[in-house]
């Protein structure tokens, strides 16, 4: 395993025309850790995710994935890095002209895998993981919002990424569907030890993922037992953006017990 952090941002800044979106953002996230990105609407959370994926280039600073700076890389040079990463967009961003099967198989076809049987086997495997195998032949327009996001998770899982980025995965969903998405995030984190960055405005989701683990036996989230050792807890960090900069970063305890008035306001 590489000693470098899985994701590291150093003094990243970005402006759109005259509007400053990010200024001097720095943080590092170790392999297997989960980072919850918090902040009000328009604080730059989604932009930060796109920077980590190399979909946007910062005006200044470095974005390092497993120690490699992706800022100077061309679109073609970014592909090997992106292969190790997956991003789930806010609304799923499924290709609406392709079926669920073709959406999930997309990356395999792009990599010129010709063995149809192997493609189907792998697609079924990841769709089964997110409990969407039955919807394999449906079109995205036939799926609910929650189902679309589960298919989007399956689509990113197809190449076994070691880093997953989630942009408001439960935004706009009812609590039951939102919970099912959290189960998938925890499942990937706990079963495949994926490094995760989750943009969310639902603190409840962050607490749930910080204090619950996925039980393969019960196929749902179960609470960590009281007094469980720190090593058995998910490595979870919280980072809050405000006015384009990092306003807070720390663990759940530091976040929850912070006396800072702005954080208190956010927590209530």
């Amino acid at each position: 395993m590489s000693a470098a952090p899985a994701i590291e941002l150093r003094n990243v800044s970005l402006s759109f025309e005259s509007k400053r979106v990010l200024a001097g953002v720095s943080f590092a996230l170790g392999a297997g850790e989960t980072l919850f990105l918090l902040g009000v609407t328009g604080s730059g959370k989604s932009v930060l995710l796109k920077l980590m994926m190399g979909l946007l280039k910062p005006d200044g600073g470095q974005v390092l994935i497993d120690g490699q700076d992706l800022v100077p890389l061309s679109e073609a040079s970014l592909q090997p890095l992106r292969r190790r990463m997956g991003i789930v967009f806010q609304e799923g961003a499924l290709f609406d002209s392709l079926s669920v099967f073709e959406n999930v198989a997309y990356r395999l076809r792009e990599e010129h895998l010709r063995d149809e049987a192997a493609i189907e086997q792998r697609v079924r495997e990841v769709l089964r993981f997110v409990e969407m195998e039955a919807a394999m032949d449906k079109m995205p327009s036939e799926l609910s919002g929650g189902m679309q996001r589960r298919v989007a998770i399956a689509r990113t899982m197809i190449s076994n990424p070691s880093i997953m980025l989630y942009d408001s995965p439960t935004g706009g969903l009812d609590p039951v569907t939102g919970y099912s998405i959290n189960v998938q995030i925890a499942k990937l984190r706990d079963m495949q030890h994926v490094t995760s960055v989750v943009v969310t405005q639902h603190l409840q989701d962050a607490y749930e993922l910080a204090n619950y683990v996925y039980s393969a036996e019960k196929q749902t989230l179960v609470p960590l037992p009281q007094g469980s050792p720190a090593t058995s807890r998910p490595l979870t960090r919280f980072l809050m953006l405000r006015d384009g900069g990092v306003y807070f970063q720390g663990n759940e305890q530091e976040f929850t017990h912070s006396p800072d008035p702005y954080l208190r306001k956010f927590l209530t």
């Binding site: 994926m53 979909l55 592909q79 992106r82 609304e91 961003a93 609406d96």
Partner: protein, 259 residues
């Protein structure tokens, strides 16, 4: 205040020209290197080319008919109705065939391309595509550019032929011009240089139509409202550029002594 606004508008305009040029250069450069999306290109040829057949046939036929009607009105005064075939052929092959077909294609395909790609941009499908290892330039832009560049000259030939048919139909119905006289006059009036010019123009117009649709689509912002704006802009700018390019191609060919 006003000068700042003018400067801002000019800067944006220059930036748009620069970005459009870069997109065009990248598309042309990368069209010759793998990976290529042959299936996507064929699907675009079907949609852009075959899908445009009915309007091209109708527009071509009636344009030729109108030309013959107008020509008859003037030529009958001088007793030169026998030259109707020549007039229809030259007007169609040199100007009206390429320009009208391109304008129809701009209305149908620049808008279609801009709205399709624009919708993909605002729903983050283009970002998802990039995240999944696909270069949108190769997957979305180049197939549309190649498909339009191949099909528009062919559609123009068809429009020219349908126009000649329309002209013949009107000539026969109005002055009972004989079939031999009409077609011989039309055929003999055209030189290879005319045909070359008539095929060079649609090739250039195809680049304008496809690239303007792609450019506006890829630069769509502002949700579904933005898609509408991009679609309108693609149609308007492509139409204006077709007429401007037509003028400059004609002028250029004259300047180099092509005629």
């Amino acid at each position: 205040m006003i000068s700042a606004m003018i400067t801002g508008v000019l800067k944006r305009w220059v930036q748009n020209v620069q970005e459009f040029t870069l997109l065009l250069v990248d598309a042309v450069r990368q069209a010759f290197t793998p990976p290529r999306y042959l299936v996507d290109t064929l699907m675009q040829m079907d949609s852009i080319g075959f899908g445009s057949l009915p309007i091209v046939v109708l527009i071509g036929f009636f344009t030729g008919g109108i030309l013959a009607l107008q020509a008859y009105r003037e030529m009958s005064v001088f007793g030169e109705v026998g030259l109707m075939g020549e007039l229809v052929a030259l007007a169609l092959v040199l100007e009206l065939g390429p320009v009208l077909t391109a304008l129809m294609m701009a209305g149908r395909n620049s808008t279609g391309i801009a709205s399709e790609i624009g919708s993909m941009v605002v729903s983050e499908q283009v970002d998802a595509m990039r995240a999944l290892g696909t270069d949108p330039l190769r997957k979305l832009v180049i197939p549309r550019l190649v498909a339009t560049a191949v099909t528009l000259p062919l559609l123009t030939i068809l429009a020219d032929f349908c126009g000649l048919l329309g002209g013949y139909f009107v000539s026969y119905m109005t002055v009972r011009l004989s079939t031999a006289q009409y077609w011989t006059s039309a055929y003999q009036s055209l030189s290879y240089k005319d045909v070359f010019q008539g095929l060079l123009k649609p090739f250039v117009f195809a680049i304008v139509i496809s690239m303007m649709g792609c450019y506006e689509g890829l630069h769509t912002t502002g949700g579904t409202e933005g898609v509408g704006r991009a679609t309108t802009r693609a149609m308007v700018v492509a139409s204006v550029l077709i007429i401007v390019a037509d003028f400059f191609i004609t002028k250029f060919l004259m300047a180099i002594g092509f005629y």
